[in-house]
């Protein structure tokens, strides 16, 4: 069986589950909720099968043995693994806290990643490892980084929800912050969707994607009218979310999620993610760099952004210890921390260049 069939099935399941979770949050229909959970589990199983098949194919291709031949060597494979970790973490939370309302906030991140994979048209093929990536540290480094990223994604969602349920004054900085964040997420997703529908492109590289396609149907359109319209539409969307954000609060408050519980999950996922990121992302990355290039730290953009991300989460952990910072302020740090994660992973590759070879071809 081909792994891409299973991947396709799991993507489909996740996207359907995302829609159902959102419907569940809005209508609180139990059948809808149970179906969403069932679809998520089915998607996870299918994706697990796909990952195992791809692992086997990859190891056989390069004749590398199972440990080295882990399919985590390019942008596509690592994003797929991220989705897998995220869904797994979500299911654990759903069962631990017996509450599926989080689904409406966590599955969209998976949906966004899957959409990004398709829209960017990144290479999904199996490629053998270039020499720099032939290291045993690679498996540990990439795998642990992505497990940590998934934890951080969870803390992003719960941090955002925390802000939603604890703010109602529209002039409050925290309120403006979360409405803006949510708007940006929706706008980026929508703009990429429009790009996709307009161009149906097949992109060779990321450079090309950024230069020729990303937001070309909207913000970066050749027609000034479309550009202005896009910005006007975004501003209108932000205004609507800002004006009616209180409804979100009602919806979430209606499903028995307390602010304390959200704060606890945010902290717990960072308390899990931080050590894993420190060990896998920073320490194992440094050891790998040391063996491959003879320098454990070179301040290249990827490393530096990992460090910046690390500082964000150290900020979060210490901010909680400060009087007056517990609660909303640190929740904002948790949300910003995940933006740093996204930039570390995608921004550095797409916008800045570095030593790291991910998706360089």
């Amino acid at each position: 069986m081909n792994s891409s069939v299973f991947f396709g099935l799991s993507s489909l399941a996740y996207i359907l589950a995302m829609i159902l979770y959102i419907a569940y949050l809005a209508f609180k229909n139990k059948t809808v909720g149970v179906t969403a959970t069932a679809l998520t589990i089915a998607g996870l199983l299918s994706q697990t099968a796909a990952l195992l098949i791809r692992w086997k194919e990859f190891a056989e291709l390069g004749n590398m043995g199972l440990l080295r031949g882990v399919p985590l060597t390019n942008l596509y494979e690592s994003l797929v693994f991220f989705v897998w970790c995220l869904i797994l973490a979500y299911l654990v939370i759903e069962f631990r806290y017996k509450n599926r309302s989080f689904g409406a906030f966590i599955t969209p991140i998976a949906g966004l990643v899957l959409a990004f994979i398709d829209i960017s048209g990144m290479s999904k093929g199996i490629q053998p490892l270039v020499p720099a990536l032939q290291s045993n540290w690679l498996l540990a480094h990439v795998m642990m980084s992505f497990i940590a990223y998934a934890m951080f994604a969870v803390s992003f969602s719960t941090g955002l929800m925390y802000l939603i349920v604890t703010t109602d004054d529209r002039t409050d900085a925290a309120y403006i912050f979360w409405t803006a964040m949510l708007s940006v997420f929706i706008i980026v997703l929508a703009a990429m969707g429009i790009d996709y529908l307009t161009f149906k492109m097949s992109v060779k590289g990321q450079e090309e994607l950024i230069k020729s396609y990303l937001f070309k149907a909207t913000f970066r359109s050749g027609s000034g009218f479309v550009t202005v319209l896009s910005f006007a539409f975004s501003a209108a969307l932000f205004f609507v979310i800002w004006r009616f954000g209180g409804i979100m609060k009602k919806i979430i408050s209606g499903v028995e999620i307390s602010a304390d519980m959200l704060d606890e999950i945010t902290y717990k996922s960072i308390a899990m993610g931080f050590p894993i990121f420190t060990l896998g992302g920073l320490i194992f990355g440094a050891i790998w760099a040391d063996q491959a290039w003879g320098k454990y730290w070179t301040w290249d953009p990827k490393e530096t952004w990992s460090l910046i991300t690390w500082f964000f989460y150290a900020f979060y952990l210490h901010g909680r210890l400060m009087r007056g910072w517990k609660g909303r302020k640190v929740a904002m740090v948790a949300v910003l921390g995940f933006l740093a994660v996204i930039f570390t992973y995608l921004g550095v590759n797409l916008l800045l260049s570095g030593l790291h070879s991910y998706g360089a071809e």
Binding site: S135, L279, T304, M322
Partner: protein, 481 residues
């Protein structure tokens, strides 16, 4: 603090540096300035960064140049080594040291202190409380409390309290020190980095096949004596199958000390060679300028009945296949052969991507034969006569490019990393757990009051207390009333 004014300056500085607030401020500044450093390309040509500024800020060349001059003055073009960035790191370290010194004694005491019995009234005040009344006699209940506490991992002490007996125990008290181990590890890593900076070096060495060197080169070609000699015996790139996708870059190296060979090892990316603290990393390769046509062609001739011989030759030379009358004369060599649209053989690259030799054979039974022998394609090695000539290597035209590094601090950095892992594990996955269990006789039963606390992950600990309650309630001797 009422008499704030009376504090002298040392106290104020101490207070500032022992505060988490300062730490958070420093986190933010380091993160923010680092971001700038990733946008501007470090140690690059001025024009490159001027272009980046023009693109980022959508300004003209002159404005960008002015801004560039300003930022360069501030050290942003090599900012991770600029005085103010290093100062930030030092402030950060000072903050960490003072903060830890300030708090450690208290935490140390908390961690060391043996647990005390607690007056029953106070038991009401701890965070986790359970109380149950059981049927059995006090003696049997005590027995099962002892067993139950063992079961959930505690070894309790006992004391008589105002009514009845109290069992109490603690666990994981040293996990409170995890945070400090984490903080200390950061200092260890910084120390290791500084040692590396002062007592180590970074250099490179491009070594042609067959040559040796007793020095490496720092920036601007400054020579750095190694204290021994290193020779590149051979260098080779291997490819995946018959594609041009590199699979491995490999150098065969020998180390000589006082004229004697002391070490021989092949290195690839991710697997360096270390001798006397100096490490050689495979980092690049290339063709020695002006070496075209000067290399040695190494062939392996094998006769049809299995006699083999290695042959070293140049273009124009002839050789004999062992045990036969067949001679081959080398007509041509190509580093990367391919066939163009008109069917001619051409070289598509200077690098040794697909090396091939053209050989004219004479003395074969059924006439002469001329053909290209390609290193990558075994089917081209076969002659019509059943003999075989294999192209092994084209030697002496490539050089291997190596990073050469000495860093006595790296060991300390790794030690710090180990500390950090241990410290973080202790901080987040362990906790200081305390439990007190009061057993007192009441009318018609025995009352058990449990008080417990954990300084972290209380929910998980509560589960264990629940388990204890379960054991007591369903135990053979005690039955819930």
């Amino acid at each position: 603090m009422e008499n704030k004014q009376k504090k002298n300056i040392t106290d104020r500085v101490w207070d500032l540096f022992s505060s988490v607030k300062l730490a958070v401020v420093i986190f933010s500044i380091i993160a923010a300035t680092s971001m700038v450093g990733t946008v501007l390309e470090q140690n690059a040509e001025p024009e490159k960064n001027i272009k980046i500024i023009m693109k980022m800020l959508r300004v003209g060349h002159d404005t960008a140049q002015g801004l560039y001059g300003f930022l360069a003055q501030l050290g942003f073009m090599d900012m991770y080594h600029a005085w103010w960035f290093v100062t930030l790191l030092l402030l950060f370290a000072a903050n960490l040291i003072i903060c830890s010194i300030d708090r450690l004694p208290r935490v140390w005491k908390l961690a060391r202190e043996p647990i005390q019995a607690m007056p029953p009234e106070l038991l009401e005040k701890v965070s986790v409380k359970r109380s149950i009344t059981l049927k059995g006699s006090a003696e049997t209940i005590k027995e099962s409390v002892r067993a139950g506490l063992k079961e959930i991992g505690f070894s309790p002490a006992e004391a008589a309290v105002s009514h009845g007996v109290q069992f109490y125990a603690q666990k994981g008290n040293y996990s409170r020190l995890g945070v400090y181990i984490t903080h200390l590890s950061i200092l260890v890593i910084l120390a290791g980095a500084i040692i590396g900076l002062f007592f180590g070096f970074n250099a490179f060495l491009n070594l042609p096949e067959g040559e040796q060197s007793s020095v490496a080169y720092k920036d601007r070609g400054v020579e750095l004596p190694l204290g021994f000699e290193i020779r590149c015996d051979n260098f080779e790139v291997s490819y995946y199958g018959q594609s041009d996708m590199p699979k491995a870059y490999k150098s065969w190296l020998s180390v000589f000390k006082n004229g004697k060979k002391v070490l021989q090892k092949s290195i690839v990316v991710n697997d360096p060679l270390t001798y006397e603290g100096v490490t050689f990393y495979q980092s690049s390769f290339g063709i020695i300028p002006g070496s075209q046509g000067k290399g040695i062609i190494i062939l392996k001739a094998v006769s049809a009945d299995g006699k083999a011989q290695n042959i070293e030759a140049k273009v124009g030379d002839s050789f004999l296949i062992p045990g036969t009358q067949i001679t081959g004369r080398i007509l041509d060599f190509s580093p990367a052969i391919s066939i163009d649209a008109t069917g001619r053989y051409v070289s598509y690259d200077e690098q040794l991507k697909n090396p091939a030799v053209q050989v004219a054979f004479s003395g074969l039974k059924d006439g002469n034969y001329t053909g290209w022998i390609l290193k990558r394609y075994p089917q081209t090695w076969q002659l019509p006569s059943g003999d075989r000539v294999e192209l092994v290597d084209y030697w002496g035209v490539e050089y291997t490019g190596m990073q050469v590094r000495k860093d006595p601090g790296v060991f300390i950095v790794y030690l710090g990393c180990i500390f950090m892992s241990i410290g973080l594990f202790m901080s987040f996955f362990m906790s200081h757990k305390r439990i007190w269990v009061n057993v007192s006789e009441e009318k018609g039963g025995t009352r058990v009051v449990i008080g417990a606390s954990a300084h972290r992950n209380r929910a998980a600990f509560e589960g264990r207390v629940e388990k204890l309650v379960g054991i007591l309630s369903s135990g053979p001797k005690g039955e819930r009333k």
